[in-house]
């Protein structure tokens, strides 16, 4: 077997094992929280009678290990079950929200990743001079703002004051692609602001690191233009750390944007997960948790594989 195929298979198998562990962790973790679904759903209006009835109906009286195995069996056969709180089909409601989350994440990534890398290259090229300082200053400022503050600021100017975009990002299935793009403009702007600095700084640092090497000096002495030196000679050797950071940020865009979702009332996975944890809606929490974990693990595998592929020493182990 080709070493790369072997490596990928290994990583995927490990990832699956990890997922299993994550599922157990989430299940027992949520079960350990005080209160159960019945109490959370009925809230202040819970009478002992209604509680007992609801517990019976939801099957909360079964032993916990049995409930876990039951859920696992369903999950492995592709049956996510129904929400305990409102009886809706989980696959359907999660599917829609996952689609929304991925749409927001990919739109932000399409803008943020190339922009961050380009800015990083420019900053490296003009290291220590005003373009570098300007880029670093601005991106560090935007990352330092808490997401909700950034959200409120863009909302205030672009929606309330100038009426360019709508303040809340309502999307639904009958919307056209362009309409959707317009609806999510504000959260995309905020997310780009938040993830830009991290990737930009890493690109800049990785390239500056490589620029110290002797072969770069050779390239410079050959008379190549500085941009060409960076693009052709320095950047390929700086890809591994950059890809790692990019993947981390992509993972963040998918799993970590609940605050932005709340601020713009966007119906993504984050808000869904928080609601479900509050209601102790175990099957939904598990479904969301597994998807998040799978995305996280998946992106990390991609990052690993890409760094290996771009590194001849790792690609051809002796």
């Amino acid at each position: 077997m080709h070493p790369v195929v072997k490596l990928v298979t290994q990583r995927i198998a490990l990832g699956l094992l990890l997922l299993l562990a994550v599922s157990a962790l989430i299940f027992f973790g949520v079960a350990a929280l005080p209160g159960d679904t019945a109490q959370a759903m009925l809230g202040q209006s819970a009478t002992p009678e209604a509680l007992a009835n609801l517990r019976e109906k939801l099957g909360l009286n079964e032993p916990i290990v049995w409930r876990y195995l039951h859920w696992l069996g369903g999950f492995l056969t592709g049956d996510l079950g129904v929400s305990l709180a409102n009886g809706q089909d989980i696959a359907k409601s999660v599917g829609q929200r996952l689609g929304n989350t991925l749409f927001l994440a990919s739109c932000s990534a399409v803008i943020a990743v190339p922009l961050a890398i380009t800015l990083g290259l420019i900053a490296a090229r003009y290291n220590g001079r005003w373009p570098d300082k300007l880029i670093s200053g601005v991106t560090l400022a935007t990352i330092s703002l808490p997401e909700f503050v950034a959200g409120y600021i863009v909302m205030y100017f672009l929606a309330v004051r100038w009426h360019i975009f709508l303040p809340t990002s309502l999307v639904f299935s009958s919307m056209g692609f362009l309409e959707r793009l317009q609806a999510i403009a504000l959260p995309v702007i905020v997310l780009v602001m938040v993830v830009l600095a991290h990737m930009m700084r890493m690109t800049r640092a990785a390239i500056l690191n490589v620029m110290e090497s002797a072969y770069i000096e050779t390239a410079e002495l050959k008379g190549l233009s500085p941009i060409k030196v960076i693009w052709r000679h320095a950047f390929p050797n700086a890809i591994a750390p950059v890809v790692n950071v990019v993947m981390l940020n992509l993972a963040y865009l998918v799993v970590g944007v609940v605050v932005v979702e709340v601020v713009f009332a966007y119906s993504g996975m984050g808000q869904f997960l928080v609601d479900s944890v509050t209601k102790r809606d175990m099957p939904v929490v598990l479904a969301c948790g597994m998807i998040f974990a799978a995305i996280y693990i998946g992106l990390n595998i991609v990052a690993d594989v890409v760094s290996i592929l771009t590194n001849p020493r790792l690609r051809h182990p002796k």
Binding site: A50, M155, L170, F272
Partner: protein, 529 residues
């Protein structure tokens, strides 16, 4: 047209200022009397219901776990959603009177033990079927069923027997209850075809709007139900509720015109919003109250002198100013205010009195160990700050009050009704009997102050069947005084329902029964485009 003139016109059209005053003030703005007259007629016409359009509300209080099953409705969005697609037998109007909805006549026998509801003829559900007495009984049965998890279970428990005869439903009660129609107005008791037994969350009812999209926690859209019987409801062709739980985002959506009305304005920003163009704050005194509750059966709160010292050690006026931004009224340590029928306004108001509080505290013989108050902001908005104010005013009287912060998550299951002293919230009920029976009767499930007084119970049950209003009022006054002087409830304030709407929304009026015109704002308002 200038902003001032526009504002004047609106006030005149609503009858807030007289015609003469309008013309006088308009001429001060440089408008001729004849012109002002014409303007006023146009404006008054604008207050006639306008048909058509898409009316949108941005609301907090919706979660992705919400269901269309009326039995499970507990937060603001399901409350409003269910009243759009469904309807109840009767409703309570803004003056506290019974309004007939699906029942067109309500009558009782002399001791209020037997009630007859005549079901309105020709009313259709969205599936085309007629609303029949059998549907009504099936609905009530579903909510009274032993297996039910309905929020209305406690309300309908007292019904011993239900029978349908012709177009009339007869309810026989175990004990007389003069307030039964008010109980039937509860928002859980939405009449569903076949009682909703087969599909409780189908969203099929007899309300003015049909469910089009139901995405819990995101949005709910509706279109007008053409066969709806009541032409005074449902002016817009389509209505939509967008769930925006974030306070700032909800306000921004209103300011930007994305939605026409929003609920739950944060008291902290009311002053900022008052100057904002194109919108108005709509505040109405309701029956909800923010409270601190002590368990009367647990030390040290089993000592009435200690309870009294705490009641005297809270500064109610300051709380209304600082926690409610002035949009509310002071409480008097019983759960009833002027928004209830038969309220006795002669009961003296309890004031902050650190000297007396210290006296009672000394008399109670408390050992000086800290008195712990458990609080989370989930109890009511601003609960932590309210507790801090309470702590300061109590410490000034020498009472060692300490605050223990609790997480919002799980507050209602782990702290409320469990901890001996904590913050809480009550939404109020349409009538006094229901409020007292829900939370202060010895045997009540939700007796969250563990207040047990056989005499109180006796008077409460006697008042329930008393049809003589003068006697009844005296009985409720006695109950209020008992609770005020011996109960475990510290009630510093009643909160207003504060909503906001854009100026193009017509038909809005204040309804103290619940927020957003008791959940019917989208059906009762219209768009002056």
């Amino acid at each position: 047209m200038s902003v001032e003139l526009n504002h004047l016109l609106k006030s005149a059209a609503k009858g807030l200022i007289s015609r003469r005053e309008f013309i006088g003030r308009a001429s001060a703005l440089g408008v001729s009397a004849a012109m002002a007259g014409t303007l006023l007629t146009t404006a008054a016409k604008a207050e006639e219901p306008k048909k058509g359009g898409l009316l949108r509300a941005g609301m907090s209080g919706g979660e992705s776990t919400n269901s269309l099953d009326p039995a499970l409705a507990a937060s603001e969005v399901p409350f409003m959603v269910n009243l759009l697609w469904g309807d109840t037998l009767v409703d309570v109007n803004e003056k506290g009177e019974i309004v007939h909805r699906l029942a067109e006549e309500v009558s009782s026998n002399a001791d209020a033990t037997e009630w007859k509801f005549k079901i309105r003829a020709g009313v259709k559900f969205h599936n085309g079927a007629d609303v029949t007495p059998d549907d009504v009984i099936a609905t009530l049965k579903r909510h009274t069923d032993e297996k039910s998890q309905s929020g209305a279970l406690g309300i309908v428990k007292g019904i011993a027997e239900m029978t349908a005869e012709g177009d009339t439903v007869t309810l026989k009660l175990a004990a007389g209850n003069a307030d039964l129609p008010f109980l039937m107005a509860d928002y859980h008791l939405i009449i569903q075809p076949g009682g909703g037994v087969d599909a409780p969350d189908a969203g099929i009812g007899a309300g003015p709007y049909k469910v089009v999209v139901n995405e819990p926690g995101v949005r709910h859209t509706f279109e007008k139900f053409a066969d709806h019987w009541d032409k005074d409801l449902g002016h817009a062709d389509q209505v939509e509720i967008i769930v925006i739980n974030d306070n700032t985002a909800r306000t921004a959506a209103l300011q930007a015109g994305q939605v026409h009305m929003i609920n739950k304005i944060d008291p902290k920003i009311i002053d900022l919003l008052k100057g904002a163009p194109g919108m108005s704050i709509e505040s109405v005194a309701g029956r909800g109250h923010y409270v601190f509750i002590m368990h009367c059966d647990k030390a040290p709160f089993d000592n009435n002198d200690l309870r009294m010292s705490l009641k005297l050690a809270i500064n109610r006026k300051e709380m209304v100013e600082k926690i409610l931004g002035g949009l509310g009224s002071v409480g008097n340590d019983f759960p009833i205010n002027a928004a209830y029928p038969l309220f006795d306004d002669t009961i003296p108001q309890r004031e902050y009195d650190p000297v007396k509080a210290a006296e009672y505290y000394k008399k109670s013989g408390h050992d000086g160990s800290p008195i712990v108050l458990q609080v989370a902001n989930g109890a009511f908005p601003g609960a932590i700050e309210a507790a801090q104010l309470f702590q300061q005013s109590a410490n000034a009287a020498g009472i060692p009050l300490e605050i223990k912060r609790e997480p919002d998550d799980g507050y209602w299951s782990n702290v409320w009704n469990v901890a001996p002293f904590c913050a809480s919230y009550w939404g109020g009920r349409p009538v006094q009997d229901q409020m007292y029976s829900t939370a202060y009767l010895s045997t009540a499930d939700w007796n969250d102050t563990k207040f047990k007084d056989p005499h109180f119970d006796e008077v409460l049950i006697a008042a329930r069947a008393e049809l003589d209003q003068t006697k009844r009022k005296a009985m409720y006054s006695e109950l209020a005084n008992i609770l005020r002087d011996t109960g475990g409830l510290i009630c510093p304030m009643f909160n207003d329902f504060v909503a906001a709407k854009r100026d193009e929304v017509g038909g809005w009026f204040a309804d103290p029964n619940g927020e957003m015109m008791n959940g019917r704002a989208l059906a009762k308002c219209w768009l002056n485009a």
